[in-house]
Symmetry: C2
Subunit: 335 residues, 2 copies
């Protein structure tokens, strides 16, 4: 029985989008139990009944502009903090939140806790691939850390490999290192040192350096990078995609009848493009390397995205990925 | 009189695209003199006459996969090397090449030479902005360096400010620091230290941190970052834009008659999108911080892009940007 602790108050459209997402997910996953943290009267508005749902009422919540570490220490009754506590206490397997990213990272690190021998958990998402047979690649670290050491990138390679193998059923996942060129000699001090560690590890299938322009081309199943670069790459993807969509929209507006008719006739193609760029159907971002599943959904998540994140958590639990990671890392001698 | 040393043999479509570009530019800029380095018989094929053009014949050239530093040392008669030598010797004001980027950077550093007190020149392009009145932002360093110190980012801020002021006629250019959040306290060790230096400088108009997702939104006229991150951001833009265009194309193909008709009717809008994303109409990338103008055009440049780069070089020379930079930096006490 999978139990998910849901921060019902986090996100731009909370609690409505969150609660409706849980209600949607409940239909597809009748074996999952949900514990919803937040204002009970508001949560109940969006639920017809309480099958498989427990509500734990609390008035406190983390705001989107709260200072992460301070807020989780001061607001001990915040919905997000209580959800993380539930995982720590073994009352739930996973936390799901669309709230303040920094506060969720802090909740993961300081409440749920790191797996032994994992110094710096990383933030990971499955991003889309548009060429070949691959259905995506796992990108880690997308910004849990501002500075990383080479050893962290080796940890991310192992984390991503376990995720791709277990959760996405990829056989012998190919691990790439994001770098400023494909040649083995390329890179910054960090990536050169990380290259050597990755190449020397027998626990991963390292395929070498990859460049950011090839990320969407299916050149690897797992791509590791430091959190600063990962954050910049992810936000550049978002910014570029959004800009292109808005330029196209503006241009259609100005193009007169013919252009507008054309856009109408192309609607399916344009929607298809939008859907393919939207990686939230792969679930949320995992703060990976913790003793429990901590899933961050986008702040603007709709009910469908919340349902995808529930599916993702279910797959993580069914395939024992965190359990397997603990065996791998806890057995290692501390270095 | 502006004199441009052109590496006629560098680039995927060389010498044809390069020589035709020069011929195009010659019409718009009859006061510019061009010195073309490369195989004379091949170059002559694409020229009706030699008005304002001198050809310096050489059989040697740098290949795209040549090791940069070694190749410029060994191939002393390569077209790119000779073009850089011409600037060093005062026979030309600028080098223009669409060849091997690493070799051109090396030619700039070791042949043309750095301005005194500029430790690490940066690679800079003017990238497009899709919101508001701004016509672009200058992004530096896009990858001349794999590792940068905070002081380098201050240098880039000054370089970008001079370029935006002189060449793009921007009054009091706003300088942003690419970071993982907009708050002043955010960042890696590098960006936090750079933030303090930028905030303390009275020579630039520092507007604080900016995130990669806002790059296209006109939040700054100059954006500084280290070369590793800049390279990743630029290549992510390219990869995202190319993937979106190919998904759209594929989707139109599969959408049947209606979708194809729609695409045909939307052709102007789609071309407009492509043109707006294409920053080569702003010219090439400048290796900035050198004693002469060193301009890198994209390997796949067509004659129009070469002409844009010539226009850019002309503006740089007319507005004395390198001369002004030399006065600013050479006067500083070495630190």
């Amino acid at each position: 029985m999978v139990k998910i602790a849901v921060d019902a108050m986090g996100g731009d459209n909370a609690p409505q989008a969150i609660v409706e997402g849980v209600a949607l997910a409940r239909k597809d996953f009748p074996e999952i139990e949900f514990i919803l943290y937040g204002k009970e009267p508001e949560i109940k508005k969006y639920l017809s009944d309480l099958t498989n749902i427990t509500i734990v009422h609390t008035d406190e919540k983390i705001e989107s502009d709260d200072e992460p570490v301070k807020s989780i220490r001061r607001k001990k009754q915040a919905s997000m903090v209580l959800a993380a506590q539930a995982v720590k206490n073994g009352e739930a397997d996973a936390v799901l939140s669309a709230g303040n990213t920094g506060a969720l990272l802090a909740s993961g690190l300081f409440i749920v806790g790191r797996i032994k021998n994992i110094e710096r958990p990383g933030l990971m998402s499955t991003l889309p691939v548009f060429k070949g047979d691959s259905d995506g690649f796992d990108f880690i670290d997308m910004g849990a850390n501002a500075d990383n050491k080479p050893e962290h990138l080796l940890t991310y390679a192992v984390l991503g490999t376990f995720y791709a193998k277990n959760v996405r059923q990829v056989t012998n996942p190919r691990v790439g290192l994001l770098n400023n060129g494909t040649e083995a000699t390329k890179g910054s001090e960090l990536t050169k040192a990380a290259y050597d560690l990755l190449a020397a590890s027998s626990d991963i299938n390292f395929v070498g350096n990859i460049e950011a322009r090839d990320l969407f081309n299916g050149v690897a199943d797992v791509v590791v990078t430091d959190g600063f670069t990962g954050n910049a790459v992810l936000k550049t993807m978002e910014g570029t995609a959004m800009s292109m969509m808005s330029v196209l929209k503006e241009s259609v507006k100005e193009s007169g009848f013919k252009g507008k008719m054309g856009a109408l006739m192309m609607k399916d193609s344009l929607m298809n493009l939008k859907n393919q760029m939207d990686y939230s159907n792969h679930g949320g971002a995992v703060l990976f390397g913790l003793k429990g599943a901590v899933i961050k959904c986008h702040g603007s998540s709709d009910p469908e995205s919340i349902k995808s994140a529930v599916r993702q958590i279910n797959q993580m639990q069914q395939t024992n990925v965190i359990h397997d990671l603990r065996i791998y890392f806890e057995d290692k001698t501390t270095n």
